[in-house]
């Protein structure tokens, strides 16, 4: 307004005009004050008097104006003078003044939080939530929400069913903006059970037809969040799903900027609950006049919704888009065609021919993009489309982007035996080796080595050349390392080299670019906000402590738990399948086995299993993976051996419990604490812990050690969805701040009502721990026996009937050696871990023990134990029970759960049995690790 000139010199003169009658002039003076009071703090005191006077003016508009301006004057000296007028205005008879005063409390809190608390304004503000005027309520809610955000621990917005009811009433009456504040606040509430969640949802759904898109999106947020608590087979759940689709589609007819916000959110919603919009593909078709940011987002959603049913339409559209003008858009469209091919197998053929058509256009960037995606298609469907290689090779010269070049080189190397002049092609790339980007150099190196292994006679010179280029003339350590490894591998054992380099690559599959599930869940809690637009948690773009409170979806709690458990498994199962994600290029380490072109990476990237071998090789993961073979690079595969060890280890340590816990049969054994999160990986926070089960309750005993130099506070913990729905039953309570080198021990009670998702391995638990420094992720394996419930003793008749029903092929058998105990001792010890003996008989001088146990999710496991006196070996037979509980789990969760559960339960049972062999002596940790080979698991028949 002042055209950038500093007019603070006029301060005294302007202040003199304050007491004018002209409202317009007064507003201008106040505006001046807001801008310049900070630069003239001493003079600003002159204004205080007028403020105090104006706050008592008979005209409510002037009272409100004064209280509104007051809060914007950020001068410490005068803040305290303003408390009295503010207090009066908060209790003003006029609602207009009250609603302005409510916001003023938030302003004052921003300036001096302590003052606001001392003066008791927060309580007054809380009272305003029950105000008769809806707008006052809305502003009070907005102010409280903001204040509460900066005090995550305080229970300012104490939401209870009564206050929620008040908010829902005000929701019907206040302005559109007020509705947004209230809905955003409601989204932070966690209803106590599904009934309450449903009743809130019912009252929020009418908002879906509001003209204001922000109201709609905030309502969607509340519904998406509370839906998590509703049981899937509730009629209401289905109705709600149906009600959500139309408003989301309507958002797409809003102005382009809002469409963009809506589309970013729909992208999240589609990932979380694809069923909502699965029939609405057409509305995401791109319009010619859409702004580019809308086009790109629509394209993303189209691919997510693509399925066998609509693939023909989608492909026709994508082909259309590939001829558009905007380069980015065209590229994305071409890439999308490739993604469709990978996602919908039936369409692969058509996609490939479409891509070939596009290559024929010879438009440079289209060709390059097509080659990049065709490489992925080769990976997904090996030995199917290689006939197109010839066409690809024609375009070799037009490739100028590293990614496309790398993809092309990969193809040439991979199919070197089918390309007659592969050596010439690769040689041509080699000429400008040093000018290439690292990605291309690495790829070229690998491709030539592959070529050499396939056609050793003709290409010896070439491989020499590339190896020397990579090792001697390059400054890039990755390239050098890889070069050396290949060199040594080739010189020591060419056969091994062949096995390693030409190993069969795992298939890539399914969805791409999915957001990591925990992040997705968090973002769902932020629908409508900036976080959902950026697809980043608020901590990534908000400064300071504000907004860094992590939100999470409410755990599913049903009022009737017995019916709940079988349903939770199918609930988690469809989304629970770990999608294989094509990682972005440039992941150099994994690149070693040229698996970088899309190895399946599932599970959290930061999985640190404490049981894994600790030694870090000089060459890092690279050599490890080389030794381990191709399987080893992919985390899920790598986890298997480690996990087996873990289970066995834990099984062994079961022994301690039995030895020490002979007297206390009620509690099961406890694994010694292991380091779950080393301090190195968590900025100084070390977490070690174990799981226990005592008289029906499971708890996680944690030991937090602060190895950093700063004090740690604000601890919180969260679990990812897991196979058995383990979830914290209470928040993590760390009462005092953790000072450096201090250790606290906490026992965190757990329950099994969380969301269920099948994990690999089954007893894998992914945990996130937050403190004032950062959020850390780790994963650990919990011993299965903590899930064995106390009433796991099956009725004899039932046992018999079930046992007979189980087909033979569902059976697993193990041997346990070196167990000198007799049947009674075994039985009593097993009971300590909630494995019960149902029956016992003696056949041919063998003791047969029939055992049963029940898991928290209602699955029964039966076992037969054969003990030969004198022979220290036990035989365990584990048939897969076909009980009703398991039966209803099967069709939904899919086959995989059962087979993986059994051996694991078997192992655990085995562990419990194995400990018997130890007798009442007291071996220490080292000893039991050393003795690991002394018994073997020999699965004879695995259930299929």
């Amino acid at each position: 307004m002042t055209v950038g000139k500093d007019v603070s010199a006029l301060f005294p003169d302007v202040v003199n005009c304050m007491q004018t009658d002209n409202l317009e002039l007064k507003k201008l003076v106040y505006l001046y004050l807001m801008n310049y009071a900070k630069s003239q703090p001493d003079m600003a005191i002159m204004a205080v008097n007028t403020f105090v006077k104006d706050c008592e003016d008979p005209n409510p508009l002037i009272r409100a104006l004064a209280v509104r301006t007051m809060g914007c004057i950020r001068v410490d000296k005068i803040t305290e003078y303003l408390c009295e007028p503010l207090r009066k205005c908060l209790k003003d008879e006029d609602p207009y003044v009250r609603k302005t005063a409510a916001v003023c409390v938030a302003k004052l809190h921003d300036i001096n939080a302590q003052l606001v608390e001392d003066q008791g304004f927060l309580d007054t503000l809380k009272d305003l939530i029950s105000d008769s005027n809806p707008m006052v309520v809305a502003n009070a809610v907005a102010a409280l929400s903001e204040i509460a955000e900066s005090h995550p621990s305080s229970n300012l917005l104490d939401l209870n069913p009564q206050s929620i009811n008040k908010l829902l009433t005000a929701l019907n009456e206040c302005t559109e903006w007020g509705q947004i504040f209230i809905l955003d606040c409601l989204a932070n509430y966690t209803p106590k059970d599904d009934r309450e969640a449903q009743s809130i949802c019912e009252r929020v759904t009418p908002r879906l037809s509001h003209a204001n898109s922000a109201v709609v999106l905030s309502a969607v947020k509340v519904l998406m969040k509370f839906m998590e608590m509703l049981s899937k087979d509730l009629d209401y759940y289905g109705t709600l799903l149906k009600k959500l689709a139309p408003p989301l589609v309507t958002l797409l007819s809003a102005e382009p900027e809002l469409q963009y916000v809506a589309l970013r959110n729909i992208n999240l919603i589609v990932q979380k609950r694809p069923e909502i919009l699965k029939h609405e593909m057409k509305v995401f078709f791109v319009k010619y006049n859409d702004p580019i940011y809308v086009k790109l987002e629509k394209l993303d959603i189209m691919i997510r919704l693509a399925s066998q049913a609509n693939i023909a339409q989608v492909l026709a559209e994508l082909k259309e888009y590939a001829t558009e003008v905007d380069v980015d858009f065209v590229r994305k469209a071409v890439r999308a065609i490739g993604r469709c091919a990978i996602k919908v197998e039936q369409s692969a053929e058509r996609c490939v021919s479409t891509l070939l058509d596009l290559i024929q256009t010879k438009v440079n960037y289209v060709v390059q993009e097509a080659i990049v995606v065709i490489k992925d298609i080769f990976r997904k469907y090996p030995n199917k489309y290689e006939s197109v290689i010839a066409t690809l090779c024609e375009n070799l010269d037009s490739l100028d982007e590293p990614e496309a070049r790398a993809a092309m080189i990969w193809i040439v190397g991979e199919y070197a035996e089918r390309i007659d002049n592969a050596d010439e092609l690769l040689e041509s790339f080699l000429e400008g080796f040093h000018d290439e980007s690292t990605q291309v150099q690495l790829q070229l190196l690998t491709a030539i080595v592959k070529l050499f292994l396939k056609k050793p006679t003709e290409t010896q010179e070439l491989v020499q050349q590339v190896l020397s280029l990579a090792t001697q003339d390059s400054d890039n350590p990755d390239l050098r390392d890889r070069g050396y490894i290949y060199w040594r591998l080739l010189s020591t054992d060419p056969v091994a080299a062949k096995e390693v380099v030409l190993a069969e690559k795992p298939l890539i599959s399914e969805e791409t670019d999915l957001i990591e599930p925990t992040l997705l869940d968090e973002l769902i809690c932020y629908i409508g906000t900036l976080a959902s637009v950026y697809h980043k948690p608020p901590s990534a773009f908000v400064e300071g402590g504000r907004g860094v409170v992590h939100k999470s979806l409410p755990p599913r709690t049903a009022s009737s738990e017995s019916t709940e458990s079988p349903e939770t498994a199918p609930a988690g199962a469809p989304s629970g399948e770990q999608p294989d994600v094509i990682p972005t290029q440039g992941d150099l380490l994994g690149d070693l086995l040229n698996l970088d072109l899309g190895p399946p990476v599932s599970g959290p990237p930061l999985a640190t299993t404490s049981v894994q071998m600790g030694a870090v090789d000089l060459l890092g993961g690279g050599l490890d993976s080389l030794i381990g073979g191709p399987n080893f690079v992919a985390p899920p595969a790598a986890a298997v051996p480690a996990n087996l060890g873990a289970s066995m280890g834990s099984g062994l340590s079961d022994l301690f419990d039995l030895t020490s816990g002979v007297g206390t049969l009620s509690g099961s054994y406890v694994v010694p604490k292991a380091v779950w999160l080393p301090a190195m990986k968590a900025k100084g926070l070390e977490i070690s812990g174990t799981f226990t089960r005592q008289v029906g309750s499971i708890s996680m005993d944690l030991q937090l050690t602060n190895k950093a130099l700063q004090v740690m506070t604000d601890f919180a913990i969260q679990f990812n969805r897991n196979s058995f729905g383990l979830a914290p039953a209470a928040p993590l309570q760390v009462h005092a701040p953790l000072s450096p080198n201090q250790t606290v021990e906490i026992s965190l009670p757990l329950n099994t009502v969380g969301s269920v998702m099948k994990m690999e391995p089954l007893n894998n638990l992914q945990v996130a721990v937050k403190n004032n420094i950062d959020v850390f992720y780790f994963s650990t394996l919990y011993p299965l026996h903590i899930l064995f419930v106390e009433d796991g003793k099956m009725d004899r008749q039932m046992f018999l009937a079930t046992w007979k029903d189980i087909p033979n092929e569902n059976e697993a058998q193990f041997q346990i050696r070196d167990c000198p105990l007799n049947a009674e001792a075994v039985s009593s010890r097993l009971q300590g871990s909630n494995i019960f003996t149902v029956a016992k008989r003696n056949v041919e001088a063998q003791d047969m023990l029939y055992q049963s146990l029940k898991l928290t999710n209602g699955i029964w496991v039966l076992a037969e134990l054969r003990i030969q006196p004198g022979n220290p070996s036990f035989t365990v037979r584990l048939p897969a029970p076909a009980l009703p509980a398991l039966g209803c789990l099967l069709p939904c969760a899919g086959q995989p759960l059962l087979p993986s559960l059994l051996p694991r339960a078997g192992v655990s049972l085995m562990g419990a049995l194995a400990q018997l062999g130890w007798g009442p002596s007291e071996p220490d940790v080292n000893e039991h690790q050393n003795s690991e080979p002394s018994f073997q698991l020999s699965p004879i028949r695995l259930p299929r």
């Binding site: 409510p60 609602p95 302005t175 955003d184 408003p247 102005e255 256009t361 932020y526």
Partner: protein
């Protein structure tokens, strides 16, 4: 919440800057100018994050409006607010242009002070704002106490959009059903997507606080009523239901002005409200089923060698012959290397507009069930440009005097219990206008 609001002209000069929060520094103004307005490449998102500060922008003609924040705000709300702000400004001084903004500095600052408090949007209904923010300037003494409290209760009240004590000699209301029909058709005449987005705009001159109830041929309502009465009537006349079935339409989704009681709509599907005075948009709706497509475009493009294109386009009108469509315009895109065009058309006027790369064919009026065609020969300059011509779709504009969705207003009842006028005394007008939205046929 919103930390600050800036308005820039097309050069990036700041016209209005209002900072609400302390965390927004003075340099934020420049950051947006440098990174967005003066950015070398066109910015590809309406939300920009620069140094942990987020900027939301919209453009109106050549004016940039930007909202700034450092928090995780409700993004949808910020955009809704920016649009609302444009509406409010337009309601006060007309078109948003640099000149109008400069002439209304004081007013804009006054408005910004009122509709945004500490970054929280407050009541932004123009009707309410105009009662106490005027361009003449109000002297606080001149208002009586009653007037003042009436203003405040209106601004904060349940019915913030209407003041009490409105009187008209003649109670009158106008309903406009405005629809825009959108179509995307393949060259072969297959409907790829079609939807109607409609609005019901109401202009009311009614006294007092009238309670209105609006009814249309919504399938769900008709079926519900049909069921109630059908049970009784069907015994006597079994053929009766067939009559009402055809008349109703399926509405995919609708949204309402904030005056409509949403909970009532949700439970009974009845649309009841107390309208603001003057003009407002009562509802928006969307339909996708059984749309009457007023025109069908049949394109035929033939490439004759490398330097010539032959284009023939037929349009067919598909509605009652007694109705007349107006302002028909067909836009046939031409390649960038067009050197000359010869056009022959039976009806209307056609012209090749080189600057727009299109042949524009205009017809003033056309009755239903008619057909007309245009043929053109396009000569091309030979180019060695490898990139193919993208062939943008043929688009069409028109206006027809019916609702392509089939929506019919069944009633609008007015009740004013306090004043002595009844529903019969109100003069009601209804008008249907169907316009083309994005009406495209690929060629």
């Amino acid at each position: 919440m919103i930390g600050g609001l800036f308005i820039y002209n097309h050069k990036g000069e700041v016209l209005i800057s209002r900072v609400y929060r302390d965390d927004i520094g003075r340099n934020a103004v420049d950051a947006f100018r440098v990174n967005v307005i003066h950015a070398r490449q066109q910015v590809r998102s309406p939300v920009t994050n620069i140094a942990r500060t987020s900027f939301f922008h919209v453009k109106r003609s050549n004016i940039w409006l930007a909202a700034v924040t450092k928090q995780n705000v409700n993004a949808a709300m910020v955009f809704e607010f920016l649009y609302k702000m444009c509406d409010v400004m337009a309601a006060y001084f007309g078109k948003i242009s640099e000149e109008n903004i400069k002439n209304n500095f004081v007013l804009i600052y006054e408005l910004l002070d009122e509709i945004l408090d500490f970054g929280y949007p407050q009541n932004s209904e123009t009707g309410a704002l105009k009662t106490f923010i005027t361009q003449q300037g109000i002297k606080s003494q001149h208002q009586t106490k009653e007037e003042q409290s009436q203003i405040t209760s209106q601004v904060t009240g349940q019915i913030g959009w209407r003041r009490e004590g409105i009187k008209y000699r003649r109670n009158e209301l106008f309903l406009d059903v405005l629809e825009s029909v959108n179509l995307l058709m393949s060259p072969q005449g297959q409907v790829l997507s079609a939807h109607v987005s409609g609005r019901v705009v109401m202009k009311s001159y009614l006294s007092g606080m009238p309670e209105c109830k609006f009814g249309m041929n919504d399938k769900i309502v008709i079926e519900k009523q049909g069921k109630g009465t059908a049970d009784e009537t069907s015994k006597r006349r079994p053929s009766a239901p067939a009559h009402s079935g055809k008349q109703s339409i399926a509405i995919d989704d609708c949204t309402f002005h904030q005056c409509v009681r949403l909970s009532k709509f949700d439970s009974e599907r009845s649309i009841s409200f107390i309208p603001p005075d003057g003009e407002f948009e009562l509802m928006r709706y969307r339909t996708t089923k059984d749309i009457i497509l007023p025109f069908r475009v049949i394109p035929l493009v033939r490439e004759v060698g490398r330097t010539k294109l032959e284009v023939k386009v037929v349009i067919k009108s598909n509605f009652k012959p007694s109705l007349l469509a107006q302002k028909i315009e067909v836009r046939i895109p031409t390649p960038l290397n067009t050197s000359g065009v010869q056009v022959i058309c039976m009806k209307g006027k056609a012209k090749y507009k080189a600057s727009e790369n299109a042949i524009v064919w205009k017809i003033k009026r056309m009755a239903g069930m008619k057909e007309s065609q245009i043929s053109a020969e396009i000569e091309l300059l030979p180019t060695n440009d490898k990139k193919k011509w993208a062939r943008p779709p043929i688009s069409m504009n028109f206006e027809v005097p019916f609702a392509p969705s089939g929506l019919k207003v069944r009633y609008l009842k007015v009740f004013e219990p306090k004043l002595n006028y009844s529903d019969h005394d109100v003069i009601k007008w209804v008008r249907y206008i169907g316009r083309s939205g994005i009406y495209e046929t690929r060629c």
